[in-house]
Symmetry: C2
Amino acid sequence: MTAQAFSHTIGNDIESRIGELITRHCSPTDRSLSGLDCELLYDEVVRQACVSSEGGKRLRARLLLAFYDVLTARNPDDVARGGALDLACAIEVFQTAALVHDDIIDEADVRRGKPSAHKALASLAAARYAGSTERSAAALGSGLGIMLGDLLATASVDIVNEATSILPNYERIMSGFLTMHREVEIGQVLDLAAEHLSLDDPDELAKNSLAVFRWKTASYTTIAPIRLALLAAGVDERNASDTAEAIGVPLGLAFQLADDLLDVISNPEVTGKPVGGDIREGKRTVLLADALSDADHEQADYLKRAFTAPARDAATVDRVIALFSGTGAVSRSKERIASLWRQTQNALDDARSTLDLDDADLAALHDVCSRFIPADIRD
Amino acid sequence: MTAQAFSHTIGNDIESRIGELITRHCSPTDRSLSGLDCELLYDEVVRQACVSSEGGKRLRARLLLAFYDVLTARNPDDVARGGALDLACAIEVFQTAALVHDDIIDEADVRRGKPSAHKALASLAAARYAGSTERSAAALGSGLGIMLGDLLATASVDIVNEATSILPNYERIMSGFLTMHREVEIGQVLDLAAEHLSLDDPDELAKNSLAVFRWKTASYTTIAPIRLALLAAGVDERNASDTAEAIGVPLGLAFQLADDLLDVISNPEVTGKPVGGDIREGKRTVLLADALSDADHEQADYLKRAFTAPARDAATVDRVIALFSGTGAVSRSKERIASLWRQTQNALDDARSTLDLDDADLAALHDVCSRFIPADIRD
């Protein structure tokens, strides 16, 4: 099988397994609800759980499986591999749970090109309960969305509990998975706090943004997938944590920096997304911190006024993008990403001895990690 | 020690342990946030987690410990008893998580006599970010509240993961705890659906309400505490589940029916709560279903108009209370409760042989179960 065909097969496995797992772990444990009127709405919520989970790139699941497969290649075990696949799916299910709550908090209408979960549930409520006003349908959509996020978070842990029964390091895997939950939740609080940070101290702003990246993104994007893969492959706790942090922290930070950078420099005709979305929303990013840090007095004034205003129009977005380039913030972000990517590669090389890897193993891991950062930004 | 003094000691143990566990399981795993501006807000969120958890009657924790202590009295083990105490606390922490989200969904301003969590966090946001308008402070309060609920839900599972390492039936306890999470989440969705039920079919309305009680209340109030106690004491899965359902379902339903009844017939000078709060909110209850079922044409019309109106004033609340009595719905609820309490007592008596209990054991279990229903309603 070619590498591309193999990757495609893994993708299909992940995709179909996620659907199965969500349906099973979100369904009532007995049939006592059968035929009741209120059961119908619950069925719709489970359907939405599946819809919301579709359409991800599954980068996190693929990262976990790549590490697991490399480490177990000498002693493959089909049953345990099934457990590792479920761990990989559990991270994706957790991500969906987090995104559902995130979209309620950010009042986001669209996710992965479809209505966000609470919006879809509000439309459903409006259609189902003809008497409901738009406001009550919106409130019902948010209420159901909060519960949908809770149900998916519970399902993700339930999947892990089931998967770990056929894997080593049972309690450690569960503990690692719950640590990931908590880190993302902490990161979300930090992100809400960051919205209100003063723009007068760019250094503090950059530090806070990087902390948000570490907790809200790197936690479940790169650190947890590697850590859980290693634990599932039988690596001891200390080694698994140290290796996951060494590789996962720089890779996760680079991933988020690249994501923020693409928002500013990407071609909307290629990505299908309008450029400057983060700027329109007034998001505090490392790009903004770097721009403020290198701006002259007049430029800094403009940026501060733009980001403290209630909203930003298209002309302001264009001017801010120009300033991000002009002040050197874009170049500095590229340098930050390249440096973090070098750290990631060094950490991978260090893992050669600790994890007993050969050249082919290392190449496979470099490859899967490289997918988190677009090639033209990476080097 | 007298029974009262003993009960008081258990209460203190539970209370102080909950505070310890929340602080530990909600805190960042490393010190990388130290000194950052955004850490301050996170500290406030953890503080609110502790405040929100205070003031409960701890009925659920006490129920779990009573069953556990009776079953392990012949072979007491201090270390395992510590694990059981943590399981008991985990249920209370989960309840707080569920209430925090519930209050956001219901837009409730007050909980246990204090501002609800999202309201308290909104006040905090308004004070902390002087520039924020009232609307943005409210939105930030809700966002932080959603995260606080998520953090507490994660903490509750983390507490169980740690506690089970010193208890038998490890995976079963975790699975039972997660089933409880899911059942409450399903119950919450059913409850939101029930708000929109037609009032033209009182029988369907009563069935739906009882289903909500089973999933949203009995699940974590009575079924899970008994089931987890039995598993922690080494009882096998089948026996633990059957016994917990047999006792917990009728007791949990009776508990919720009594709670709804007290809302209508209690003396506000004794309870400190205004009478008829559920009616004011237009809640679909078994009382309403029973009243509609026994009402004459004119009374039914009045009730339907009252409960489909956008709001209900004091005079309407009084008239509805009079109709709940006049139609016989209050008496019928008392009969329902008495019948469910008899079922509970019979199930307890049946457990004598399956759990190998003596008279003193049974008396202790009857006593702890009886606390879920006021004496004057029970018999």
